[in-house]
């Protein structure tokens, strides 16, 4: 495997100069939208950084732009650059689910996806679930079933529940348990959450997109 020790080599990364020095790889377009484009074998290869690069994200149907360093996670970009603070940062280790967002129909942890990697994809956060004045059925079901106490895990849970119901409109209790295993609640509201999913499933969790 790629020896981790060899990864210790320090450096400022792939600067244009060192890149040209070490390789026969040619630089076709010096600056496109802040990232560099190089040619290796024919097709264009984007190189992001070092330094901040402008990015474009499609979030809840809107195109938003920000400037981030390439290492910044989607979660940090949402919270710190775009003022979308619904997704919460709890573990920052891809484990607790509080940062759950939907990318191209799939629930993922925003703390484990690079913001630059999320470009060109359709991202849904908890802020995008309401339609006008109406709560999404999952949101309403959380209220009706007292499915939160401190509420810190709730946005991630709501998004995970929506993604789950989109895929499993009529889940069994066993499927619900399994399908929501990626979200943790320190207050222990799991029973309420399961009841909420059951209610939203009956009402059609798919409604409102």
């Amino acid at each position: 495997m790629q020896d981790d020790d060899k990864m210790n080599e320090k450096g400022s990364g792939l600067s244009r100069r060192t890149f040209l020095k070490v390789s026969g790889i040619s630089l076709s377009v010096p600056l496109v939208m802040g990232h560099r484009v190089i040619k290796v074998s024919g097709a264009e290869v984007k190189v992001f950084g070092p330094g901040k690069v402008p990015i474009q994200l499609t979030i809840n149907g809107k195109n938003l732009s920000a400037q981030v360093e390439p290492r910044v996670t989607l979660l940090d970009a949402l919270r710190n650059e775009l003022d979308l603070t619904g997704a919460k940062r709890v573990c920052d280790r891809a484990t607790c689910g509080s940062c759950t967002v939907i990318i191209d129909g799939k629930a993922v942890y925003a703390c484990a996806v690079l913001a630059i990697e999320a470009q060109g994809k359709s991202i849904t956060t908890v802020e995008g679930l309401m339609q006008g004045e109406n709560l999404h059925p999952v949101q309403q079901a959380f209220i009706d079933n007292d499915a939160q106490q401190c509420g810190f895990c709730t946005p991630g849970f709501v998004v995970a529940c929506k993604a789950f119901l989109d895929k499993n409109p009529n889940p069994t209790p066993e499927q619900v348990k399994k399908g929501l295993g990626g979200n943790l609640c320190r207050c222990g509201t799991y029973m309420g959450v399961r009841a909420a999913v059951a209610q939203a499933a009956q009402k059609g969790g798919r409604r409102n997109g």
């Binding site: 495997m1 060899k6 080599e9 990364g13 920052d92 799939k106 703390c111 484990a112 996806v113 399994k178």
Partner: protein, 305 residues
């Protein structure tokens, strides 16, 4: 839209200290073709860190435990995706996610243990991003797809600008978190021989809880049995040695033998001795030996019924 704070200077949870060797501002290369990946790896191999689904890497990166100044993001290289039927075997692209494995009819039909293993990995959010190539190259002894690949005698397809080569999965690892992969190479795919109609397979993972649990011991096996006699058996075990392992002594004992209660008991004891587990934060050596023996017994009982 407001741009007020820099994410990199934002307070980290648990007061995590920055690693002194970590570049705070790494570059990310984002190619779309395999040819470009080869080109980049042959220039920068050894200095660049491949990132696939990121479910192992991003955790390290967020914890400032990753010393890499350059990342090579392969997520957009579609040539590394897809499951194809090659007759006797299935070829699974390195970027295939657990969600895709679980949903694949080919995998369900011809490598059911791989579906069973994928279902136990992380939770939905991990299954949607985590890839089989990442599981292989991450080389954790606890990787849950690995015992299946070991028991099925899978092959790893490796590529670089120098060409492609195929390595038996059971010869892929050279030690704890070490493999035969050279710095300019990447894993392209894994080839899994189809389960034969006369064969039965098995997967069992023991963890602390059902979601997000790292295995204390994990076993995959397949066997051919007729009239109570085992004609062939292969057993892959994880979390009980520095790498995923086969259990050759136990396989030898069982091959060609009549599956009696005495033999099953003997096999249970042999496998418990043959593995080399350690005591760590998840479990003890004694527990791992005992439970691995019991898990094998479970499979053998299924076979005899």
């Amino acid at each position: 839209m407001a741009t007020v704070r820099s994410p990199t200077t934002e307070g980290r949870p648990y007061g995590v200290q920055l690693s002194t060797t970590m570049s705070l501002d790494p570059t990310v290369q984002s190619p779309q073709t395999l040819a470009d990946v080869y080109g980049l790896l042959s220039e920068r191999g050894g200095a660049v860190k491949i990132i696939a689904g990121g479910t192992d890497l991003m955790v390290l990166m967020n914890a400032h435990m990753l010393d890499a100044a350059e990342f090579l993001d392969i997520w957009r290289v579609d040539e590394l995706r897809g499951i194809t039927d090659e007759g006797d075997a299935l070829r699974i692209g390195a970027l295939t996610t657990y969600t895709q494995l679980i949903k694949s009819e080919l995998i369900q039909q011809h490598a059911p243990s791989l579906v069973a293993a994928s279902r136990t990995i992380g939770a939905i959010q991990i299954q949607n991003r985590g890839t089989i190539g990442g599981n292989i190259v991450n080389a954790s002894p606890a990787g849950d797809s690995l015992p299946v690949l070991a028991a099925y005698d899978a092959e790893v397809e490796i590529g670089s600008a120098r060409g492609t080569r195929t390595v038996a999965f059971n010869q892929f690892y050279t030690g704890y978190r070490r493999s035969v992969l050279e710095p300019d190479e990447l894993v392209l795919a894994v080839r899994v021989p189809k389960l034969k109609e006369s064969e039965r397979d098995f997967f069992w993972k023991v963890g602390t809880r059902r979601a997000q649990a790292i295995s204390k011991t994990v076993m995959a096996a397949k066997a051919q049995i007729s009239d109570g006699r085992i004609s062939s058996i292969s057993i892959g075990v994880g979390s009980v040695a520095p790498t995923v392992v086969r259990a050759p002594k136990t396989e030898h004992l069982l091959t060609g033998a009549q599956l009696t209660a005495t033999l099953m008991e003997e096999a249970r004891q042999i496998i418990a001795q043959e593995i080399t587990p350690i005591t760590d934060l998840r479990s003890t050596e004694h527990y791992r030996r005992t439970v691995t023996g019991n898990v094998l017994l479970k499979f053998l009982r299924q076979l005899s019924s």
